[in-house]
């Protein structure tokens, strides 16, 4: 008798358990209801530009869903050194695939070594931020020119960086005889250069560049010598965010990429002898 009671009890508990879960939830909601991350931001600050651009988009709920609009969204930047706030304006553009995208632009020129925070506000609330610090001007030095004729060249060492800056060029400022107005010739350098102790170096082919200068300002090869006013290297350095672009850690509640580019002129002075070897008249001023 007791055994039967026991079995009945076990069956009762079992049946109750069974029935209690039959009606349990069986629906999946794959989307996070209250995600903190709702925006993707792509762009960078450029020291060489007076207008800065970023592309901002809201996350879509499905792969093929239409891009949601950005109503009541404000983008602004804050200079962390001066706390100066610049409110950016929006601009609808056509993307390469024919769809529309939204750019925001801010009218200012970022400064070297300064940190800027890009803020995205929705309905007046700060919902996402990204930070970038512009690179500092690198120390550098110019080696002694050497070589004969066309091989006459000079090593420039840019200290404190590893690898080639993403843009490198040499700028020559020359003037025609008896003219005060200088003309500028920029020669882009594609060479990889090489890493050296504490920095990166590349070779400036001074004599070859002279032919390029003559060609670009349309001056005869055997005409009167041009006057050399200034020679400098131009390097563009990317901020640290680029080194970890696939997994950036400078965002709060946002995806994408936000970095900055520093543009730096690195001038040096050639000796009068070297200027003479190049076939210029030396009219270099102080750096």
């Amino acid at each position: 008798m007791k055994r039967k009671k026991y079995i009945s009890l076990v069956f009762g508990v079992w049946s109750f358990s069974l029935l209690s879960v039959i009606g349990c939830e069986n629906v999946i909601s794959p989307l996070t209801d209250d995600s903190d991350k709702v925006f993707a931001i792509h762009g960078f600050l450029d020291m060489a530009a007076d207008t800065q651009f970023v592309r901002v988009s809201a996350l879509r709920s499905a792969i093929l869903a239409e891009q949601p609009g950005l109503e009541n969204v404000v983008v602004q930047s804050v200079d962390q050194n001066t706390l100066e706030v610049v409110v950016w304006s929006d601009l609808v553009i056509e993307l390469d695939d024919g769809t529309e995208g939204i750019l925001f632009f801010g009218l200012f020129t970022p400064m070297s070594e300064r940190t800027y925070e890009l803020q995205v506000l929705k309905d007046g609330n700060l919902v996402a931020t990204g930070k970038t610090t512009l690179p500092e001007s690198p120390p550098y030095f110019a080696g002694t020119p050497s070589g004969d004729t066309l091989q006459f060249s000079q090593i420039i060492v840019v200290e404190g960086i590893t690898g080639r800056p993403f843009e490198v060029g040499i700028r020559y400022e020359v003037s025609r005889p008896s003219e005060d107005l200088p003309e500028t010739v920029f020669i882009e350098y594609q060479q990889d250069g090489s890493n050296t102790l504490g920095g990166w170096q590349f070779e400036v082919f001074l004599k070859r560049d002279q032919f390029s200068v003559l060609q670009q300002i349309d001056w005869p090869l055997f005409g009167p010598p041009l006057e050399l006013r200034r020679v400098s290297a131009f390097v563009s350095l990317k901020s640290e965010e680029w080194a970890n672009a696939s997994n950036p850690d400078n965002f709060e509640n946002a995806h994408g990429f936000f970095g900055s580019v520093g543009r730096f002129e690195l001038p040096w002075i050639l000796t009068p002898d070297d200027v003479g070897k190049l076939g210029y008249v030396d009219r270099q001023g102080p750096l």
Binding site: W14, L18, P30, L31, H255
Partner: protein
């Protein structure tokens, strides 16, 4: 810390040595003692009787008992000269009793045949439980064919797979795909052996079925952890299946027809009753039956062929040859259209061949076993017409084992060697990759019965590899305590061990629908996966019909490869190393009455993986060992097989020739990762160029907390009814059943990108018929 461990090891070794000396090798009057050994078989079928109880009583009241081995053999050493009574008993057979006159310094070998007994089934069940209770070992579950028959199946055939999922701590992600997770371990960390041959993919594509039909299984030892030194090469669990031998006396066989499978088993005696052949063949029919029966396509085609030749060369030696071939093909995501099979499909084939020789020296207290095997698996995963991946693994193994039975002390040791060859191709345009690794090693497993209450089993395993890693050493230890001696109704057992896995299987565990696995050796200069197990448990029989058990465990796992979510929707699979921690408690209750059986189990478990930030590996590019530099955030998460609660209830009622069975399974939801949304990610390198901000970019997915959400709970209710009929020349069994009787829509797979949901199998009615020779 290290000193303490070493001191303990030294102590145990000393203890072991003393036991060996005390038990067997002392040079005293025992030199005059004799040995009795024998072979126990069934009179009816000639089959070996494994696990039969053999008791030797002498006139002064000393009693000794052993169980027959997997080859039906037993042995008593150092038997006093004089008169003894030998009793052999086995469930379902009449006991055999004889009085022996033992002369000094002699060896007797007995061939004992037991007659089948006409006994009520209920009595047998109770006796079975008693026998099992005597063998309680932490982490071990011994499965008999009788136990398999308690699980309702969509088939008149029973199968090991169905039973395994009723064990606490055994988790499957679904009823298709054939993936089994044991106490926090993954499918590729399970060692599955059939007659000592490793089987790489032991489950069919429909999760109800393993590659081993119940008819061919003599018994299976399932270690959820804490396994002894004779097993190695995997870090989670061991399923050691011993197949039965064919009938050596007469032709026997059976044929079945059911909606999922058709099967045929034939047993033939050959060579003067000394040799038998057993052949079992199964092939699915569900892909043909489903459209009419269920109104939907189930494009799964699978089957297996098993053959075994067993023969006695002499009364004390035997040889067996085992062959297993399986095939599976199907689209585990198919739900609506069978045409999908032509495009996306998973397929695999196992081939396993093994030879085993066993010798019991008549005049020496030992057994010798020699085995060689070949095992291979080919698998393919086709995503599109052009895009496919293929993988092949082959292993050749040689094994020699020695078993010394020295009274209260047992010493098992062996040496082994393996060569594994791996071949894989990760795309139509990819070059095939081929590699191999050879290993060799040895083990020693001992058992000391210190007194009536305490038995300890220390062991050690070592293995050295041709390349890739240094020698691995895995100490093992197990202890069993019977507080009130051999008549104790409560038993306590504990196990501890360290395990290594040099041959690893890599698959995308994030996606349950991707069962494709690449087998390879662990890359050089990378630490191999390893685990430490600790298990402690209790088993008690409160009443003759009620048994309870509780087992707590913990597994610490290191150097596991786990895939990393790609942010890109069409990104490649990348792996990082994680550390795992699995812990839990398994509770079990069994009620065993004359005509009623009920078993209930509950598992509470938690598995966490911890990933250190670091460099990971990308595998879907040529070379599985390629190290691609990518950073991944550190963190702790629940892997997708972390089932927190699991409840199983089985009930079976028998009356006359009828049998009614129920089964209800409940599993709490498995973890998954929610999505915040999707966005176009622009190439940062192109941003500085003209048009950088108007580029289209790639679609990326923003994910929420890693595995921070749970899928809906799983539950399924199955019912089956059987009636047996006896005719003049054949016996028949008719089976009616309903799988998923409540038609619960259990989720199998959910594509977060498309929102496509694939459910597990719906309500499936079944009618099965089995015809067998009596």
């Amino acid at each position: 810390m290290f000193r303490i461990r070493r001191r303990h090891l030294i102590y145990l070794c000393t203890l072991a040595l003393l036991q060996v000396v005390r038990s067997g090798w002392s040079l005293d009057a025992r030199a005059q003692r004799s040995a009795i050994s024998g072979l126990v078989t069934s009179t009816d079928s000639g089959n070996l009787l494994v696990g039969a109880t053999v008791v030797l009583d002498d006139l002064i009241g000393e009693r000794r008992a052993v169980a027959t081995s997997s080859e039906g053999l037993f042995r008593f050493n150092r038997v006093r000269p004089g008169v003894h009574t030998l009793t052999v008993s086995f469930i379902g057979f009449e006991s055999w009793v004889d009085t022996l006159q033992v002369a000094p310094a002699t060896n007797q070998f007995l061939e004992i045949q037991l007659f089948e007994q006409e006994t009520e089934l209920g009595e047998l069940v109770i006796e079975t439980i008693r026998t099992e209770a005597d063998r309680y070992i932490a982490g071990l579950e011994t499965i008999t064919p009788r136990a398999l028959s308690r699980v309702p199946m969509p088939d008149v055939n029973y199968d090991l797979a169905g039973y395994l999922l009723t064990l606490p701590g055994f988790v499957s992600t679904g009823d298709r795909g054939g993936q089994l997770f044991v106490r926090g371990g993954t499918p590729t960390q399970n060692l599955v052996l059939l007659d000592g041959i490793p089987i790489y993919q032991p489950f069919h594509i429909v999760g109800f079925y393993s590659a081993f039909p119940a008819d061919i299984i003599s018994y299976a030892d399932v270690y959820a952890g804490g396994f002894g030194a004779r097993y190695g090469g995997r870090i989670s669990s061991v399923i050691d299946i011993v197949s039965t031998n064919g009938n050596k006396k007469r032709v026997d066989g059976a044929a079945t027809l059911a909606p999922f499978l058709t099967s045929l088993r034939v047993e033939l005696p050959i060579a003067n009753e000394d040799v038998s052949l057993l052949v079992s063949w199964r092939e699915s029919v569900i892909e043909r039956v489903a459209p009419r029966l269920l109104g939907q396509e189930l494009p799964f085609h699978f089957g297996d062929l098993f053959a075994k030749i067993h023969g006695f060369m002499t009364p004390t030696s035997s040889v067996s040859i085992t062959v297993l071939r399986t095939f599976d093909k199907g689209n585990v995501l198919a739900q609506e259209s069978v045409n999908d099979l032509d495009v996306r499909s998973s397929s695999w084939k196992n081939q396993a061949y093994g030879l085993r020789y066993l010798f019991l020296p008549p005049d020496y207290p030992a057994m010798f076993e020699f085995a060689v095997h070949y095992s291979g698996m080919e698998s393919e995963f086709r995503l599109t017409e052009e895009e496919f991946r293929s993988s092949q693994v082959q292993s050749f193994g040689l094994n020699m084992q020695f078993h010394y039975l020295l009274g209260d002390t047992q010493l098992h040791f062996g040496i082994f060697g393996n060569t594994n060859i791996f071949d894989y191709r990760l795309g139509a345009n990819q070059r095939a990759q081929r590699s191999s690794v050879t290993s060799g090693g040895g083990f020693a497993d001992t058992q000391f019965i210190l007194n009536d209450m305490l038995r300890i089993e220390p062991g050690v395993r070592f293995e050295s590899f041709s390349h890739g890693t240094s020698m691995s050493i895995g100490p093992r230890f197990r202890a069993t305590l019977l507080p009130w001696g051999s008549r104790s109704r409560h038993q306590f057992s504990a196990a501890w061990g360290r395990y290594h896995q040099q041959i690893v299987g890599l698959n995308n565990e994030q996606d349950v629908s991707e069962v494709f696995t690449i087998w390879a050796s662990s890359p050089q200069a990378q630490a191999v996966p390893e685990a430490t197990h600790v298990i402690a448990g209790w088993k008690g029989r409160l009443f003759p019909w009620l048994e309870l058990s509780a087992e707590g465990y913990r597994k610490w796992m290191k150097n596991l490869a786990f895939p990393v979510f790609s942010e890109s929707v069409d990104g490649t699979t990348r792996f990082t190393q994680v550390e795992g921690d699995a812990r839990g408690v398994d509770l079990k209750m069994e009620v065993n009455l004359r005509s009623f059986y009920m078993g209930a189990s509950y598992a509470l478990a938690e598995v966490t993986y911890t990933r250190e930030s670091g460099v990971g590996r990308t595998i879907l590019i040529p070379g599985v060992v390629t190290t691609a530099s990518f950073q991944e955030d550190a963190g702790t998460f629940f892997p997708p097989h972390d089932r927190r609660h699991q409840l199983n209830v089985l009930a079976q009622y028998e009356w006359g020739r009828n049998q009614l069975g129920f089964r209800w399974q409940f599993g709490s939801g498995l973890p998954f990762t929610k999505v915040n949304g999707y966005y176009q990610s622009l190439d940062s390198d192109k941003l500085t160029s003209s048009g950088g901000l108007t580029q289209t970019g790639s679609t990326f997915v923003s994910r929420s907390t890693l595995y921070g959400e749970r899928l809906p709970n799983y539950h399924r209710f199955d019912v089956s009814y059987e009636r047996r009929f006896t005719f003049e020349r054949v016996d028949a069994t008719l089976q009616l059943g309903v799988i998923n009787a409540l038609n619960r829509e259990n989720i199998f797979s959910y594509n977060i990108f498309t929102g496509d949901r694939v459910n597990q199998l719906p309500l499936i009615p079944s009618v099965g018929l089995k015809i067998e020779l009596p």
